[in-house]
Amino acid sequence: MTRPNRITPLLLIGFLVAIGIGILLPQFYPDFVTYQLTLAMAWGIAMLGLNVLTGYNGQFSVGHSAFFAIGAYSAAIFIEHFGWSPYAAIAGAALCSFIFGFLFGLPALRLEGLYLALATFGLAVATPQLLKFGAFEHWTGGVQGIFVPKPAPLVEGLTPDQSLYYVALGITIVLMVITWCILHSRSGRAMMAIRDNPIAARTMGINMPLVKTTTFGISAMYAGIGGCLYTYASEFVSPDAFNFFIGVYILVGSVIGGIVSIPGAIVGGLFIVFMPHVAEGVSNTYPWVPPPWAVFGVFLILVIYFVPFGVWGAVERGLAWTKRRMAG
């Protein structure tokens, strides 16, 4: 099941129910949980970007932390140095990270598979050092980073956390729908054709460089928007917050959620935000249990061995199986 689903009544109802739950959640939980859910969506958006790039276009990136950082920093700079409103800064951050991703995608065009992973690995490792770089210090705040105040509530009666949550929810829904539309369009089919058989795709007249770089740009844009929301929620950007491991987390979430899927990204986001707490609790109670991220490393390898299609892939397969059973 490597192609996105058609709209079925079940899918549509599921999507609407999920939105409904999403809207209601902050009413039942305290601000801290709302804040965590906002973080989960920020991660989820970045993972959605990686899913489009890797799952649907077959290009690898272990360095999405770089684009996450570009989005976060450009939003912070727009607010701090240009006095933009936080919402305009989201659009600015999206544009910046798109351009950056598109430009990085140009040399990356000639790299295949492993080599692209290597180049993005380099980018991710170099990013914190670049952000600290003396010549940019006036803009980036150097080692100290930039403080970004939480946006004021959009609607009276909401706390800042709740307001930001609804903004993130809106953006997540819009981006998921846009992704779905892209994947079902001519360009989406071109992306998947390149993934499945580059030579055949080129023979059919697909402009491969254009599709690949644009996909890289879109993916970076998603990561940038995610980074921007992440910054608003955590109210802070600093160079070491965007180290190589952020890129690893994005990859881990994508794979566990299901890298060839759209909703899987949200599963991945929830996993990255909530599972460390659960695991931490376990290893606090039982001191012999290794730390969360080591356990997740084992978990990741097991997922790749046994369920490489991830959680959402498993759900889809389960549904298909039930349908076949019911049809007799």
């Binding site: 890797t54 690898f60 272990v62 040399p107 000639r110 790299l111 598979g113 492993l114 080599y115 992973a117 290597l118 180049a119 690995f121 380099g122 980018l123 490792v125 170099a126 050092q129 670049l130 600290k132 770089f133 003396g134 010549a135 030579i199 190589f244 690893v248 990859l251 881990v252 794979v255 890298i259 290794p290 730390p291 969360p292 991220w293 080591a294 997740f296 490393g297 084992v298 990741l300 390898i301 790749i304 061995y305 490489p308």
Partner: protein
């Protein structure tokens, strides 16, 4: 001028460490077409094992040899247990397994030995060899030891039956199998050797960068840059590439250059490694000493 020579020699020393790690990366790449993203963390873990021997009071050379031996066995086991299941899987799956290993090793090291930075003693006594203004005793020892190790590896691959079998298994698995070479064990042996060579790199670099679970991420990037520059299909190239990257990296840190450009260049060393990677991949993907691989479609 004296500073220039100092920087060059120090660059050669640090470059020989990159060469060790680059050689480990290339050995695995040649045998299995994988880039081992966990190579740096494996070397880091080996160094911590040596550190543990030291805390038990072992002399530093014994600790190093013990850690290298353990790394060899561990590398063998990792290949048999962790890597074998994804041998024929898509590239993405393989990369993710390496990333998983990286996470496990990094966090386990932090859990066992804590994330604090620890000093690690040099293998070489401070009054070792020729006293010189130009190069410190540790750096001189690093260059010497690396050359010996590399020469030994060359002899092993060139003149022993096992070395020949390993080369055969990497170059043409099917034919090697037909003449009775156990290809899968040769791969495991390659992993073991790579883990051992990487461990030497880790033990040599630890006195310079200090010991902590994140010490190798930069080193691994330089090693990748070196491996690509020299050519991933050539172990000799990887060694040369590692050396070149080490020297260039140190030249970039030269104060005169920073003064000339008006900002501190040594803050951009990792970016430099990234540039090397991207430029080599774009303009000479086979590297300086590598063969051009023609793929049949």
């Amino acid at each position: 001028m004296e500073l220039f020579f100092q920087l060059t020699l120090a660059g050669l020393a640090i470059g020989s460490i990159y060469a060790c790690v680059a050689l480990a990366v290339v050995m695995i790449y040649q045998a299995t077409d994988h880039f081992n993203f966990a190579q740096g963390e494996m070397a880091m873990f080996s160094t911590f094992i040596a550190f543990t021997f030291l805390t038990f009071g072992a002399p530093v050379w014994l600790a190093a040899v013990g850690a290298i031996a353990i790394s060899f066995v561990a590398g063998l086991i990792i290949e048999r247990v962790v890597i074998k299941p994804v041998e024929n899987a898509p590239i993405l799956n393989q990369i993710i397994v390496f990333i998983g290993m990286l996470m496990i090793l990094n966090n386990m090291a932090g859990w066992i030995w804590e994330f604090t930075i620890k000093p690690f003693p040099s293998l070489f006594p401070s009054d070792w060899g020729v006293q010189s203004e130009l190069i410190g005793p540790h750096h001189m020892g690093v260059i010497g030891l690396t050359l010996i190790v590399l020469f030994a590896i060359f002899l092993f691959f060139r003149f022993t039956r096992v070395g020949l079998a390993m080369r055969a298994a990497a170059a043409n698995p099917d034919s090697a199998r037909l003449v009775g070479v156990s290809v899968s064990w040769m791969l495991a042996l390659g992993w073991g050797l790579a883990a051992g060579v990487g461990a030497i790199g880790g033990i040599l670099v630890a006195p310079i960068v200090y010991l902590d679970p994140n010490m190798m991420s930069g080193v691994l990037l330089y090693a990748f840059a070196g491996a690509l520059l020299g050519g991933v299909s050539s172990p000799f190239g990887a060694v040369m590439g590692g050396m070149i990257v080490g020297v260039l990296e140190n030249w970039i840190g030269h104060p005169a250059l920073s003064e000339l450009l008006g900002f501190k260049m040594n803050e951009l060393k990792l970016t430099f490694a990234l540039m090397v990677i991207v430029i080599v991949l774009l303009f000479k993907p086979a590297g300086l000493f590598g063969r051009v691989v023609v793929k049949r479609v």
